[in-house]
Amino acid sequence: MALNSRRRFATLTAVLAVAALTVTACGSGDEEGGGDDAGSTGGGGAIDCAPYEAFGELDGKTVTVYTSITAPEDEPHIASYQPFVDCTGVEIKYEGSKEFEAQLPVRVKGGNAPDIAYLPQPGLLKTMVETGQVKPAPPEVAANVDKYMPDSKAWGTVDGTFYAAPLGANVKSFVWYSPSAFAEKGYQIPKTWDELLALSDKIASDNPGDEVKPWCAGIESGDATGWSATDWMEDIILRTAGPETYDKWVAHEIPFNDPAIQTAIAEAGKILKNDKYVNGGFGDVKTIASTPFQEAGLGITEGTCYMHRQASFYAANFPEGTTVAEDGDVWAFYLPSTSADTRPVLVGGEFTAAFADRPEVKAFQTYLASLEWATERAKTCGLGGCVTANKDVDPNLLENAIDKLSAEILTDEAATLRFDGSDLMPGAVGSGTFWKGMTDWIIGKDDKATLDFIEQSWPAS
């Protein structure tokens, strides 16, 4: 999810910078020209301004936002601020960066912190809180969170103080496939992990050559290479070891190389390190390491692979004109658990941390945690990936089929939700050695050496 943002090619960074500037420029222009533009943008979103008026006169003030959400996903995000801008006259300066995780600590240490940052990892929130510069969430924000997303509050809390309200959310436990290809071959959607392996075997024996394989995967992501392999691991630990062990593993109450985790990595290896199963359309196992994750699942539409495990946000990567629906060109099924009655779900999302407590900053934070924002986000959603942590949003507002499915899973009573573990771990592991370790594992390091390497890197304190 950090990764939402990462799925764009590097060349787009420059475009983004220009786009962001243009959009902010337009934003400020609108304001000066009065609110006449507001009705036509947004979804006719006049909202109750009272909660924000309580913060006093804010007209002409500026709030800077620093995020990892870059073009083209930034525009719909910026559009969802319009009702707030119309209400208060505050100018939101939006800046997205693909180097967000490396740059934010530098900016904070250098005394150049943004007013608000969207942190894709609770682990990073913890690191930022340790700098002493993150402001606790104002009571108005806490009230909104208690009301609309109580389950996610703990992830924005460090040492008992609540700092960061959840923003976007996505479901990671999906396997993308082509409904028509499955129908044609008579493949059934697997309901358990064993069925999934059996199906993989069947597809492999139906396609003996080198050209078509059951699975395709790719973990190349520039600086963040390896992250999608960590999602694989986490999903499998949730299934083979269970949510309780998963929690202990994330909190380092059991070592990273615990026997339960060794079992899980061996299970992951049954698919990811099996030349019979991977890597359809790309080559052998090692090509997983060099295949950009954005391209990894495209084999489904090209017919070179049948299954691709990736989060809900992958929908935006299919070529234009691809229908994402249960009866469309591509669709996703829930990555099955070891038995049909447990439903662990791996989720991800961003959190809004504030480095300033000026009234306009607090007001904007409050807006981002409100039902009004979540509703506006669903309405102005462009490419999909607009599910929010807010449980009260009408799922029917979501246009995108996969967004709707994600929203249903997130609010499903039977599902056991767990946050992406690598995002919860200390940054040194979660966005460092865990990524590197999994990449080395793909290119040949054995299970034990991989886990030992990550374990020794866990910060001492």
């Binding site: 490396a102 359309g281 060099s290 080395d440 390497f453 910060p459």
Partner: protein, 339 residues
């Protein structure tokens, strides 16, 4: 940096929005302010220097001229260097109790030992290959027809940034399955010759050598240019005298050319050596240090900014510093000898 320094200087005098340089007008203002500030400092130095006259005054003039450079050096170089050394001695986080743990990790942890091995490969191979190729090329084309064009051919890569070169060569090395259409030049050639395509950037230790080729490609031009100039400056009399004595081609090279250009060779080898020790861009652009290709400079960045281990990062930076010192020292000694 400039903004902060100037911000400190100008606070109170100049309206805040100008200093933040957010508008075009603000940026221009800041630029002119910086130029004016520089001119003022320079003027002050000249003025102070002019106050001292005569023989004893020269000493003071020297001190005044050197002072600004000394101040900037100590603030911008010496002080951070000391901080880095202290940080390297204080555990992974750079804030714990003093210990040598970072240094012992560097020489025991397999992942970091690999980094040292890779750096050693780079530092041995790049200067040797780049200088060797540059030298042979310079001799071959010396006084040949179309020399300028031939020189341009090998010198052009010098004009490309390391990041640019990294991207270009990443395309050259692109891998696709043998059965699929190839987009990487090297694999297209392999396929046309009937071989299987290779994952050049994934397969260790081959990948380190593939990266080294890129650096050699860039640096050979530099070596060729300097050495070619040195060869041309060998006095004709020496060469003619040698020819009269019956010295033949290889011996000519061994006993006449090589000793004559020794100084230039040392400069070239050491300069490339220092550049290679610090190599970062190529590795980061092409593999990001993944797949067992990391080198010290890249690992320093990863540890400091990615793995949240600034102490270990600092230790790597210190190691780099220590490794560069003898080369720089040798270089200086050589230059003194020449002078």
């Amino acid at each position: 940096m400039t903004t902060t320094v100037l911000g400190g200087v100008g606070a109170g005098i100049i309206p805040e929005p100008f200093l933040r340089a957010e508008s075009v007008a603000g940026k221009f203002f800041l630029m002119f302010f910086a130029i004016a500030f520089f001119a003022a400092v320079f003027g002050l130095v000249l003025f102070l220097a002019s106050l001292f006259k005569g023989r004893s005054g020269e000493k003071w003039q020297g001190v005044i001229f050197v002072a600004p450079a000394l101040v900037l050096l100590s603030v911008g170089l010496v002080y951070p260097a000391i901080l880095t050394i202290i940080q390297s001695l204080r555990g992974r986080s750079g804030e714990d109790a003093f210990s040598l743990s970072n240094y012992s990790a560097m020489f025991t942890q397999p992942e970091l030992l690999l980094v040292l091995r890779n750096t050693a490969l780079w530092v041995i191979l790049v200067p040797l290959l780049a200088t060797g190729i540059g030298l042979i090329y310079a001799i071959l084309i010396d006084r040949a027809r179309g020399e300028a064009f031939a020189k341009a051919l090998i010198f052009l890569p010098m004009a490309i940034s390391m990041v640019g070169a990294g991207i270009i060569w990443k395309f050259v090395y692109q891998y696709k399955q043998t059965s699929r259409p190839q987009i990487g030049l090297l694999n297209a050639i392999l396929k046309a010759l009937g071989f299987d395509t290779q994952q050049f950037l994934i397969n260790a230790p081959l990948n380190t050598f593939m990266l080294i080729i890129v650096m050699v490609w860039i640096q050979a031009g530099f070596a060729m240019t300097v050495l070619s100039a040195a060869i041309k400056s060998i006095p004709d009399e020496i060469i003619e005298a040698a020819k009269l004595d019956g010295v033949q081609s290889f011996k000519m090279f061994r006993f006449i050319t090589l000793p004559s250009i020794r100084a230039a060779l040392v400069v070239v080898v050491t300069t490339i050596g220092i550049g290679t020790l610090k190599v970062f861009d190529i590795v980061r652009t092409m593999t990001g240090g993944q797949f067992d290709t990391s080198v010290v400079a890249n690992e320093f960045y990863s540890q400091s900014f990615r793995f949240n281990a600034p102490g270990l990062g600092a230790a790597l930076a210190v190691l780099l510093f220590i490794l560069v010192i003898p080369i720089v020292g040798y270089n200086i000694v050589q230059m003194r000898k020449e002078a």
